[in-house]
Amino acid sequence: MNKLLSSITLSFIVTGGLIAGEITGVVKYIGKPPKAKRLRMDADPVCAASHQEAAKAETFIVDAKGNLANVIVYLKGVKYSGNTPTQPVELDQAGCVYSPHVMGVMAGQPVKILNSDATMHNIHGLPKINREFNFGMPKTLKEKTITFDKSEDVFVVKCDVHPWMKSFTQVFDHPYFAVTGTDGKFSIPNVPDGTYEAIAWQERFGSKRTLSQQVTVKGGSATLNFNFERPKKK
C-alpha cells in the first residue's frame, strides 16, 4: 500500500513536470591519456575498405581539454513509474564499429540494431540478468529490433566475427541517465526535485571504479561535474 501510494505521488510529480528540473554537467579526465591503438581491421577486407585511415579503439576518447566522452551518468535507486519511451534506441554497425559505443536504454524500450556494412556481423550481448542474445546479421539483414526486460548494470555487446567490435549497454528502470558526448557534456532532463546519488561510469575505469556524487535538484536545474583521474603508478 505504501509502495503504491508513493508511486502514485511520484508519478504525479513526474508527469506534472512543474517541479522537475534538468541536471547538466561535464565529465573531465585529469592526467595523461592512454594512447588509442589501431584496430586490426585488415582481418576483414570489407571493414578495412570502409576506413580511409586506420580506425582506432574507442576505449578512451578524450579531447585536448580533458573532456571525456562515452561516460554513462545516471541517478541511482530512483523510483519511476512513468511511461517507457516507444521511440527506439539505435545501435548501428557501420565500418565495423558500433555507434554509439556506449548507450543507455530503458527496460522495455525497443533497441533497433542496424547493419550498415556489406559484411556479416553477429551481435552478441552478454547480459547477466537479461537473456543473453546472439544472432547473425548477414548483409541483407539491415535491421532487427530487440528489447531488454529488466534493468541491469552495464554489459558488453560485441561481434564475434570482428573481435574488436565492442560496445556497452546499460538498462535502466527509469529515464534519468545520459551519455557524455565528445565534448564531455551531458544532460538529464525532467528530474523531479530531490537529492540523489549520481554515478559516472567509464569503460576503462570499469564497474569497480565508478565515481559517485550527491546531487540536489531544486527549482529547475542542477549542475553536476565529474573528474576521472589517471591512476597513480605503484
Binding site: 556479416m120 552478441h124 544472432f135 548477414p138 541483407t140
Partner: protein
C-alpha cells in the same frame, strides 16, 4: 499373447497394442512422417544454400519477421535434419517398423518375445521424438551444434542442446528395449526347422543390427549423461582448463577433454552406419531373390560378411578423427581396420550382383528400387575409400565429399531399399497392392533427382568446400568455381520432394481400394508370405505354427513344377 481376449477396445487395438504387427505399423507411420519433416528441413536449408540470405518464400514467416534463415537457425536445422533423419526416421523405419512386422512372421513366431516391452519401446521412441522437436520452441531454438554435438561448442550452446540430449536418452532407451526384443525373438522363437542357416537374410540383418544397437548405443548414452552433467551441473568432462568464450574466461574447473566425447560418440556412430545399412541389405536380398526367381549366390558368404561387418564396425570409429592430432600408430591401426571393413562390403555387393546372373529378372517397382540400390550403394561405399585413408582425408575431411559419401549410402542407398521394402510388403500389410505405374514414376523421378542432389557434392568436396556453411561457401574463395552447383542441388532437392507426391498419392489411393484377397502376390517362398493371410489375422499370426523344411530362397528348383518352393514344403 493369448487369443482369448475378451474385449478389444480401440485403445488396445490401435494405440496401446502389444501385437508386433500393429507396433510395426505404428513405427512405420511415425517414422515416415519424421522422414518427411526431416526432408522438409533440408528443403529449407537448400533454399538458404542456393540463394544465401534472401527471404525464404512461402514459409518465411516461420523464421521471424525478416523471413531469413539466419546462420544460427540454419545450424539448428542442420543438426535437427541429421538427428531426425537418422534417429527418428531411418532407424525406426528399418529396424522398428520392418523388423517388428516381419521378423516374427519370417521365423514363424506368434509375436515378439516380449510384447509389452515392444509397445514400451515404441512409446519411448514416440515420446523421445516429441522431446526432440520441443527443442525448436525453447529460447535459442533447437540444438545447433551439429548432429555430432561436439563439445565445447555443444557444452556452451543454447538450451536446445539440453533438450536434444534428453531426447537422445529416450531414443537410446527405446532402441535398447527393441534390440533385446529382436535378439531374444530370433534366438528363442524360431519355428521348428528354422535353423540359423535357413533364416532369411532379412532376419540375419535385423539380428546383427540389434546386436550393434545393443552394444554401441550405451556408450553414447554414457556420453550423453556426461554432457548433460556438463551443461546442468557445471562439470568439466569435455572442457579443458582456460577456455575463453566470447571474451569471457569460462569459470569451469576444467581438466576435461573434448576428444573424450568424440571417442564415445563415434564408438556409437560408426556402428550406427551399419545399423542404417544392414536392414537395407536384408530387404534388398529378399527382393532380389524373389524377382530373379533364383536363390541368392552365396547365402553363407553374405551371412559371414555381415557378421564380420558387425564386429569390425566396433573398431573403426576413430577414422572420423584423423585430424584431431592422431599419431602414427593409432592412424595406422584405424586406417587398416577401415580398409579391412571395406572388404566385406565389397563381398556383399558382389554377392548381390552375382545373384542376378542366371535369373529371370522381373522389373517391378520394388525390384527397380532394389536394383538402383546396388550402384547407388556402390558409389556411397567407394567414395568412403579416400576418406578412410588419412592422407587423402586431409583434403577431403569435413567437406561436401563426406556429405555426398554418406548420403549416397543412406539416401539413394538405404532409403531406396526402404521404399523397395514398402512396395514389396505393402500387399502383406494391407492386402492391397500399390499401383505399378505411379510406383515407377516415383522411382524414375526419385532416381534422377537423388543423383542431382548428391552427385555435385563430390565436386564441391573435391574443391574443398566445407560442410555446415550457412551460406554454402559464399565467403570462401576456393568455393567460387563450384558454388553454382548449389542451385542445381537445391532444385533437384525440391523436385525430389515433388516426386514423393507420386508415392503419397499411390499410398492414399491404394488404401481406398478393396482388398485383392491375394495371399502371395509375388510368389515368394518365405513363411511371411506362404503361411499367413494378407494382412495376417489378429494376434498369433498363424493358424498353426509352421514347420520349416528348407532354406529361404528355393526358387526355380530343378524338377519342381512351379518356380518357387515354400520353406514349409516337405522334401
Amino acid at each position: 499373447m493369448s487369443d482369448n481376449h475378451t474385449k478389444e477396445t480401440f485403445f488396445t487395438k490401435y494405440i496401446w497394442s502389444i501385437d508386433h504387427k500393429v507396433i510395426g505399423i505404428q513405427y512405420g507411420i511415425t517414422a515416415l512422417l519424421w522422414l518427411l519433416v526431416g526432408f522438409g528441413l533440408m528443403m529449407v536449408m537448400r533454399y538458404q544454400l542456393a540463394y544465401p540470405d534472401t527471404q525464404i518464400p512461402f514459409i518465411g514467416w516461420i523464421f521471424g519477421e525478416d523471413k531469413l534463415l539466419l546462420p544460427e537457425k540454419y545450424n539448428s536445422l542442420g543438426a535437427m535434419h541429421g538427428t531426425i533423419m537418422i534417429f527418428l526416421g531411418v532407424v525406426p523405419l528399418a529396424f522398428g517398423a520392418f523388423g517388428n512386422y516381419l521378423v516374427p512372421l519370417q521365423i514363424g513366431a506368434i509375436d515378439m518375445a516380449f510384447p509389452r516391452l515392444n509397445a514400451a519401446s515404441y512409446w519411448t521412441y514416440f515420446l523421445g521424438s516429441i522431446i526432440m522437436v520441443v527443442g525448436f520452441f525453447v529460447p535459442g531454438g533447437a540444438a545447433n551444434s551439429g548432429w555430432t554435438s561436439y563439445p565445447p561448442l555443444a557444452d556452451v550452446a543454447t538450451a536446445g542442446q539440453t533438450v536434444w540430449l534428453l531426447g537422445m536418452v529416450m531414443l537410446i532407451t527405446s532402441s535398447l528395449l527393441g534390440s533385446v526384443n529382436i535378439m531374444v525373438t530370433v534366438i528363442q522363437l524360431r519355428a521348428e526347422g528354422m535353423t540359423w542357416f535357413r533364416l532369411p537374410i532379412f532376419v540375419w540383418t535385423q539380428f546383427i543390427t540389434a546386436f550393434l544397437l545393443l552394444l554401441a548405443f550405451p556408450p553414447l548414452e554414457a556420453a550423453g549423461i556426461l554432457q548433460l552433467m556438463d551443461r546442468l551441473a557445471g562439470t568439466s568432462f569435455f572442457l579443458p582448463t582456460g577456455l575463453v568464450v566470447s571474451g569471457e574466461v569460462l569459470t569451469n574447473a576444467g581438466g576435461g577433454s573434448p576428444l573424450l566425447w568424440q571417442h564415445l560418440f563415434w564408438f556409437l556412430a560408426h556402428p550406427e552406419v551399419y545399423v542404417l545399412i544392414l536392414p537395407a541389405f536384408g530387404i534388398i536380398s529378399e527382393i532380389i531373390a524373389n524377382n530373379t526367381r533364383k536363390p541368392l549366390s552365396g547365402y553363407k558368404s553374405l551371412v559371414y560378411a555381415m557378421t564380420f561387418l558387425g564386429f569390425m564396425s566396433f573398431v573403426v570409429w576413430a577414422h572420423h578423427m584423423y585430424l584431431t592430432g592422431m599419431g602414427t600408430t593409432m592412424g595406422a591401426f584405424f586406417q587398416t581396420t577401415t580398409m579391412i571393413i571395406s572388404i566385406p562390403s565389397v563381398v556383399i555387393l558382389t554377392a548381390l550382383l552375382l545373384s542376378l546372373w542366371g535369373g529371370s529378372i522381373r522389373f517391378n517397382t520394388p525390384m527397380l528400387f532394389a536394383l538402383a540400390f546396388l550402384p547407388m550403394f556402390g558409389i556411397g561405399g567407394l567414395t568412403g575409400l579416400p576418406l578412410g585413408l588419412a592422407a587423402a582425408d586431409i583434403h577431403l575431411h569435413d567437406t561436401y565429399y563426406v556429405i555426398g559419401h554418406f548420403h549416397y549410402v543412406v539416401a539413394p542407398g538405404t532409403l531406396f531399399a526402404l521404399f523397395a521394402g514398402v512396395y514389396f510388403w505393402f500387399p502383406k500389410v494391407t492386402g492391397k497392392s500399390l499401383n505399378e505405374s505411379l510406383g515407377k514414376l516415383h522411382f524414375y523421378f526419385s532416381f534422377i533427382f537423388m543423383n542431382g542432389v548428391f552427385m555435385p557434392m563430390f565436386i564441391q568436396g573435391l574443391a574443398g568446400v566445407s560442410r555446415r556453411l550457412a551460406d554454402g561457401g559464399q565467403a570462401y574463395a576456393h568455393a567460387a568455381d563450384v558454388i553454382y552447383l548449389n542451385e542445381i542441388m537445391s532444385w533437384s532437392a525440391w523436385l525430389l520432394g515433388m516426386a514423393q507426391l507420386f508415392f503419397i498419392a499411390n499410398v492414399v489411393l491404394t488404401l481406398f481400394k478393396a482388398r485383392t484377397g491375394e495371399i502371395n502376390p509375388w510368389n515368394a517362398t518365405t513363411i511371411d508370405w506362404t503361411e499367413t493371410t494378407s494382412p495376417p489375422l489378429g494376434h498369433g499370426n498363424f493358424e498353426k505354427i509352421p514347420v520349416v523344411y528348407r532354406g529361404p530362397y528355393e526358387y526355380s528348383v530343378p524338377g519342381s513344377k512351379i518356380d518357387f518352393t515354400p520353406q514349409t514344403e516337405k522334401g
